[in-house]
């Protein structure tokens, strides 16, 4: 029996063949923490009394959720992480000015590579599956244990295969494919399992679209959201990598728990209604939904390709008078690129507000909190009760083009 890409990556790291269902203890290539999850991990790590990190060069710390510091308490938390990075010699520490939203930043900086095992104390760590890596989110205590031992215990997951065929419609991208998928299988449809995206559509997707798909695997409960590496992956990884990478793909006779096929020619831009990412409707069936705010950014859709899409829609247009449009480039490099390409000018002329990189509004942190009864369309990843602010506010999830078009129309709208 053949193996899935997930089984191959885990087997290669273990130095022995393993299959779905086995409990393993495996070495990791990268251990990631941020300003929310690291402080708790630091406290737990220091309880262990070990003198050093397993390998400071494999530890990455990114301050991204509440920076530039939202308030005194965030400032204290960031200071705590900053001191830890210094004390333990963590070179891959990213502070204001260099930082970006972690899951946009790590691939951009070549810190996570094809074939890696990456463990991150952030649920969207599954993003790097787009590189053909095994990458999954854990909590702070698991991260602390990785810092100490360099290893994590895992159950080798079963895999659901998604076969995406057909041709994409205009303004349909990775966000729509993954929202459609979550709508199909539900928010626990892939619980404990790896999702593997295949089919003729996938090799044609940009890395940005692939990152968006892998990023939201967790919204279906997925342990990983993996895409076999190809020429496009290599083109992305090669100029960035400072160490070796390894390419794996699933065998034709690999065992899948299930295979689901989608004719992507039938998929319109998707909108997830409150309060679950699975509550999706095609844009043609949205009806009249007026909005107060639109957010373009996050680890899901804050990449340069996403900003270009939004700019194409916003160019020469004005944001509706009753809508606040907030645009958050994912990293400093993306921000700079957006300035150079004239995208920032388009956004400001349209009436949008631009922020430095931050997770900010996505998790109801700051930079765009919603009041009672307010509605927001966002390119983010979650629309749970109270996610972006008041428990009676509402979040609708969509791709960057639809979000921009909605900001202009004042209601959820297709691109004209």
């Amino acid at each position: 029996m053949g193996k899935t890409i997930t089984e191959k990556i885990l087997s290669a790291h273990l130095g022995k063949e393993v299959s779905a269902g086995e409990l393993i203890e495996v070495k990791v290539d990268v251990a990631l923490g941020n300003d929310i999850t690291s402080p708790l991990a630091i406290v737990e790590f220091e309880k262990l009394g070990v003198k050093s990190l397993f390998d400071p060069d494999k530890v990455v710390l990114v301050l991204d959720h509440f920076v530039p510091n939202k308030d005194v308490r965030s400032a204290e938390q960031c200071k705590f992480v900053r001191q830890f990075a210094k004390k333990y010699g963590v070179k891959n520490f990213f502070d204001v000015g260099q930082m970006g939203i972690e899951h946009a930043l790590l691939p951009e900086q070549g810190l996570v590579l094809t074939g890696d095992i990456i463990i991150g104390a952030d649920s969207h760590t599954c993003t790097y599956g787009a590189l053909g890596a095994f990458s999954t989110g854990v909590g702070s205590t698991d991260l602390a244990a990785v810092w100490a031992t360099g290893e994590i215990w895992l159950k080798v997951p079963q895999t659901i295969k998604f076969v995406c065929s057909g041709k994409l419609n205009p303004w349909v991208g990775g966000k729509d494919l993954i929202l459609h998928t979550i709508g199909d299988i539900g928010v626990d449809g892939a619980n404990y399992m790896a999702m593997e995206f295949t089919g003729e559509v996938i090799p044609k997707l940009t890395m940005a679209d692939r990152f968006t798909m892998s990023n939201m695997a967790i919204e279906a409960g997925g342990k990983a959201g993996i895409i076999a590496p190809d020429e496009i992956t290599l083109e992305y990884v090669k100029p960035r990598a400072k160490r070796e990478w390894r390419m794996y793909s699933s065998d034709s006779d690999a065992e899948y728990v299930e295979s689901r096929e989608y004719d992507c020619s039938q998929i319109e831009p998707q909108v997830a209604f409150p309060h679950l990412p699975s509550n999706v409707k095609p844009i043609s069936q949205v009806g009249q939904v007026e909005i107060d705010q639109a957010v373009i950014g996050s680890c899901t859709n804050g990449r340069i390709e996403d900003l270009r899409l939004a700019a194409r829609v916003l160019k020469g247009k004005k944001v509706h008078k009753d809508v606040r449009l907030i645009i958050i480039p994912g990293t400093q490099q993306i921000y700079l690129q957006a300035v150079k390409e004239g995208l920032v000018e388009i956004f400001i002329e349209a009436g949008g507000a631009i922020s430095t990189p931050t997770c900010g509004p996505c998790l109801g942190g700051y930079m765009g909190i919603l009041a009672k009864g307010e509605r927001c369309i966002a390119t983010t990843n979650r629309n749970f009760v109270g996610r972006m602010g008041h428990k009676e506010s509402e979040v609708y999830l969509a791709n960057p083009a639809i979000t921009a078009a909605s900001a202009i129309a004042g209601r959820i709208a297709p691109v004209e």
Partner: protein, 166 residues
């Protein structure tokens, strides 16, 4: 390990945003304070109603969403002795074990708000004292019971320097 208390019943897909709302994250360095807001978007008075030992009982996919460990931690700090659900989201489940909060997966359809229940973690048995019924649940993987028995993952690693998978 035997646990006994009354039931607070919730529905399906209880997210970590509902358990530990992001808007209170300025309290994340003061977990006891954050615990006062546990599940408040689902039940505004929840914290004040908890008696030590009580249970949260829910439907499917409890704890979906963010990896924030604050979610199981504040449930534990609020005095809840365990969470019983028909299924759990993966990261929440790991986190709960790692912080020493018992999580039990079984059919919760017939457990109701206010029921008094007793859970025997070693025997995999749940007794509904109010309804005089019994349920069995499958035991956790060995590595997880080891971690729970040691009081959490850090205590487990401190003891063995490693994970005990079997």
């Amino acid at each position: 390990m035997k646990l006994k208390g009354n039931v607070f019943k919730f529905g399906d897909d209880i997210s970590t945003d509902l358990i530990a709302p992001g808007r209170y994250f300025h309290l994340r360095s003061n977990l006891q304070e954050l615990a006062k807001h546990v599940m408040e978007d689902a039940d505004p008075d929840f914290y004040s109603k908890i008696k030590p030992g009580d249970f949260i009982v829910a439907g499917k996919n409890f704890g979906l969403g963010s990896s924030r460990e604050h979610a199981p931690t504040i449930i534990k700090l609020a005095g809840i002795s365990g969470v019983i659900a028909s299924s759990f989201a993966r990261i929440f489940f790991r986190n709960a074990i790692n912080v020493g909060l018992p999580v039990i997966e079984c059919d919760t359809t017939d457990i109701e708000q206010g029921d008094e229940i007793e859970v025997d973690l070693e025997k995999g048995c749940l007794t509904n004292l109010t309804k005089d019924t019994k349920l069995t649940f499958s035991m956790l993987p060995r590595v997880m019971t080891n971690i729970l028995q040691d009081g959490g993952l850090i205590e487990h690693i401190a003891k063995y320097g490693d994970f005990r998978l079997d």
